[in-house]
């Protein structure tokens, strides 16, 4: 469908390029709307009615309502947008990273304090095949 891209071989990474941006437009606009309190209140009162104002795909809608953080990125979401939905759920950036990496907050935080995720072994998808 789309041509291959030089960054397709970076593991565990979804580059938010123009194809992804086009795919994720309504999902992202939904997420960013939660920056404002009246919208958070409306979403809280009736999540399904609120989200249906944004004509996203059924997959995106399901991912958003079920807090599938990586899935949202794969479907065109961008982290700065999905982080607003996370914040609505009381999840900060570091906790969100704990969820997306599958490590959980405590071990993710420890990894960061210990210097972060090493670049070695994390440059190419081929390096992740054994994982």
């Amino acid at each position: 469908m789309t041509e291959s891209k030089p960054y397709d071989d970076i593991p565990g990474t979804v580059v938010f390029d123009s194809d992804q941006a086009a795919r994720g437009y309504h999902l992202n606009q939904f997420c960013i709307s939660l920056r404002l309190q009246p919208n958070r209140d409306a979403f809280k009162a009736d999540p399904e009615t609120y989200i249906d104002q944004y004509p996203m795909s059924a997959e995106q809608r399901e991912a958003a309502l079920n807090q599938q953080w990586n899935r949202m990125l794969e479907l065109g979401g961008n982290i700065y947008y999905t982080a607003k939905l996370a914040a609505y759920h009381g999840i900060n950036f570091q906790e969100l990273a704990g969820l997306m990496t599958g490590m959980g907050s405590t071990s993710y935080r420890k990894m960061m304090v210990d210097g972060g995720r090493s670049i070695d072994g994390n440059r190419y998808k081929s390096e992740w095949q054994d994982k």
Binding site: P11, G12, Q29, R35, Y80, A87, F93, M100, T101, G116
Partner: protein, 279 residues
């Protein structure tokens, strides 16, 4: 005439704003980071710029997905700190310098940089956190700010060498402004970090060190670091380091490195900071 005296590079990690706003700048986690800026606060109190030209990126605050300008120059009288979902940061309103902004806007377009002009713009942590790191918590920011917002959220961000050339064009604009103004240019963002998906938490300290060395001493070479290298080596959000090249372009070819600070981590990010003076 106006002139560029110095340049500051500085990460703009939102957690540092939260730490400062909640008075949490001395604990084991944040203390070492804020200590790295003690020198900088003293330096800028002596440097006393008349205006700061501040290069940063907006995080879907002033611009959501509807409008994504690659380069947007603030031309407003003032910029309100934005509500990013947790209430606006309790920091002073950022005052602009409209005449200088207008002059730069005109000069850039005539120099073939077709920037977007923002006559109203809220500013988020990308702009206010570097001010906090450099000035602490004053009742009012000590000088006006001319903001330049760069798109680094939707790929592709402008190339490093385009940012460098834009910095050179900004320098020409500042140098041709008739008032006597001492200008300090800030380039913000970075350093290596990835906020998203399974590779989140990536830090590449060796690469960050090399990036800073090239930026200071060999900018003509460093500005040609290509996007795939940023993405792979510095993480998907590390690409915002191209903004440091706008600052570098506005400085002389030869600069003196006055201060360097590097620390891991702040939240998900490597914090990098440089102070450069023109020779």
């Amino acid at each position: 005439m106006a002139y560029v005296s110095s340049g500051v590079a500085c990460s703009h990690v939102p957690a540092l704003g939260v730490a400062s706003d909640s008075g949490n700048t001395t604990d084991d986690y944040y203390g070492p980071i804020f200590q790295g800026f003690d020198f900088s606060k003293e330096w800028i109190a002596k440097e006393k710029p008349d205006v700061i030209f501040l290069v940063y990126n907006d995080h879907c605050t002033a611009f959501d997905a509807r409008v994504i300008p690659t380069f947007a120059l603030g031309c407003a009288a003032e910029y309100q700190p934005a509500d990013e979902g947790w209430g606006p940061r309790p920091v002073p309103v950022v005052k602009g310098h409209q005449r200088l902004s207008a002059h730069i806007a005109q000069s850039l377009v005539l120099d073939e940089f077709d920037i977007t002009i923002m006559n109203e713009m809220e500013v988020d942590h990308g702009l206010t956190v570097p001010l906090t790191m450099m000035f602490g918590q004053p009742d009012a920011w000590p000088c006006p700010v001319v903001p330049l917002a760069v798109n680094v959220v939707q790929y592709p961000a402008p190339l490093g060498r385009r940012c460098y050339a834009l910095g050179q064009s900004i320098r020409k604009a500042i140098d041709s402004f008739p008032d006597d103004l001492k200008v300090c240019v800030f380039g913000t963002g970075g350093m290596s970090h990835q906020l998203q998906h399974q590779r989140a938490g990536l830090i590449n300290s060796e690469w960050d060190d090399r990036f800073m060395n090239l930026l200071v001493n060999e900018p003509d070479k460093g500005c040609n670091i290509d996007h795939i290298e940023y993405l792979r080596e510095a993480g998907s959000e590390g690409i915002e380091l191209v903004m440091w090249y706008v600052m570098r372009g506005a400085m002389n070819k030869k600069v003196e490195e006055i201060h360097r600070f590097y620390h891991v981590p702040a939240s998900n990010t490597a914090v990098g900071h440089l102070i450069l003076e023109n020779r």
